[in-house]
């Protein structure tokens, strides 16, 4: 066999003994083999360097929206345990931002709370996200993270925001968009 035939034999496979013997007596192939090994090592480093690269959260948000359009609301909505801590923090931030942004000096009867929600909903974007007052940055222009949470309905209505429902019972499911700085940007009530 000539050199090229040896290379053809080993293409993409572990080299056998004849190949090792050929390398031992052919300096050109040995050098080429070493270069090949160094490329393989470099590729491993390149793979490690990019292993944390992934699509921005808005892709997931778009897909979930498309999924719901196709199949309706989730059958078993739930949240990964590992994200609960982030969710809890996000809700607190969202609630605080909503509170400081939407409260107005007025008398509110217990049955009139959803009026603020209606006002806020008027500003929601196409995906149903209500931008939070004082939140820096847009929803589309940078890396955002989507966190799904459940809130006691009473907590939401106490803030004068949320789905128009007079009942304080049960929970409200919401999605919060977090900016790269960890601050809540927008909220969307799911039920």
């Amino acid at each position: 066999m000539n050199c090229e035939e040896y290379w053809g034999e080993t293409a993409g496979q572990e080299p056998g003994e004849p190949w090792a013997a050929h390398l031992a007596r052919c300096p050109a192939c040995a050098a080429r083999w070493a270069a090949d090994g160094s490329v393989a090592e470099g590729l491993r480093a390149l793979a490690a360097d990019t292993k944390n690269v992934s699509a921005p959260a808005r892709v997931e948000a778009n897909l979930v929206r498309a999924y719901r359009q196709r199949y309706g609301q989730p059958v078993s909505p739930s949240l990964g345990i590992h994200r609960w801590w982030a969710a809890a923090a996000a809700v607190l931030l969202a609630a605080a931002a909503l509170w400081t942004g939407v409260r107005q000096p007025r008398r509110v009867s217990p049955g009139a709370m959803p009026a603020v929600a209606t006002a806020a909903a008027a500003e929601e974007d196409e995906a149903g996200f209500i931008p939070l007052p004082n939140a820096a940055g847009g929803l589309d222009d940078d890396d955002v993270d989507l966190v799904r949470v459940e809130l006691p309905r009473s907590a939401v209505t106490a803030l004068g925001a949320g789905p128009g429902d007079d009942s304080d019972a049960g929970t409200v499911e919401a999605e919060v968009l977090l900016g790269p700085d960890g601050m809540a940007r927008a909220v969307r009530f799911l039920n």
């Binding site: 293409a11 160094s38 793979a47 990019t50 690269v53 892709v59 059958v75």
Partner: protein, 202 residues
């Protein structure tokens, strides 16, 4: 202990209307699909569009996934590849990688004393990244799939629609080309011979 659900099980559940299964499958497979699209398409916006389209394809009636013909991963990469080919046809030229943007996973040197060593490693990685992006498409896709994403040859073959032997030989050829490109780059960085000093008499 319960074994993690297979891609196929998640697919069946998502088609039955379980959003959680769709999200789980997305989280499991999105990074590799996104990186493949990024390495092949050359820009984050292309990668984002392709990733979104790949997972939207799963929601369509008659999406084309047939378990007896290959795994779901192979199917997803196959869809991504088709979308990228459509992009290439539109643009009629392959693009390089996003040279300006640093990958999110790139890490800073932990110790300032390691900075020089880290710089050398970074330079080597960047050189290789450039070399990969300059490979002809058929070689680039096998390198990205098999070497960077560690997809096995059978799945890569299913995604690319070619025999395993073709994957092997392309991969082999691609590595040789990469070695050659890296050698060229190293030669290009060697210092240019200094000009002979001469006094200007004007």
């Amino acid at each position: 202990m319960r074994l993690p659900e297979s891609d196929h099980e998640l697919f069946e559940r998502l088609r039955a209307g379980e959003e959680q299964a769709f999200v789980a499958l997305y989280h499991r497979r999105m990074p590799a699909i996104y990186r493949f699209a990024l390495q092949m398409g050359g820009s984050a916006s292309v990668a984002e569009d392709v990733t979104q389209e790949v997972f939207l394809a799963l929601l369509r009636d008659g999406c084309g996934y047939e378990p007896e013909r290959g795994t779901l991963v192979a199917y997803l990469f196959g869809i991504a590849r088709k979308l990228l080919l459509r992009q290439f046809e539109r643009r009629r030229s392959d693009l390089g990688l996003d040279g300006g943007s640093e990958p999110a996973g790139a890490s800073e040197p932990a110790d300032p004393f390691d900075a020089l060593a880290d710089l050398a490693v970074r330079e080597r990685i960047e050189a290789l990244r450039r070399a990969v992006s300059s490979l002809p498409r058929r070689y680039r896709e096998v390198v990205v799939l098999c070497d960077l994403e560690e997809v096995d040859y059978a799945e890569a073959a299913a995604a690319l629609g070619c025999p395993i032997g073709t994957v092997r030989s392309r991969l082999h050829r691609a590595r040789l080309l990469l070695a050659e490109k890296l050698r060229e780059e190293r030669r290009g960085r060697e210092p240019v011979p200094a000009w002979k000093a001469a006094r200007c008499e004007i």
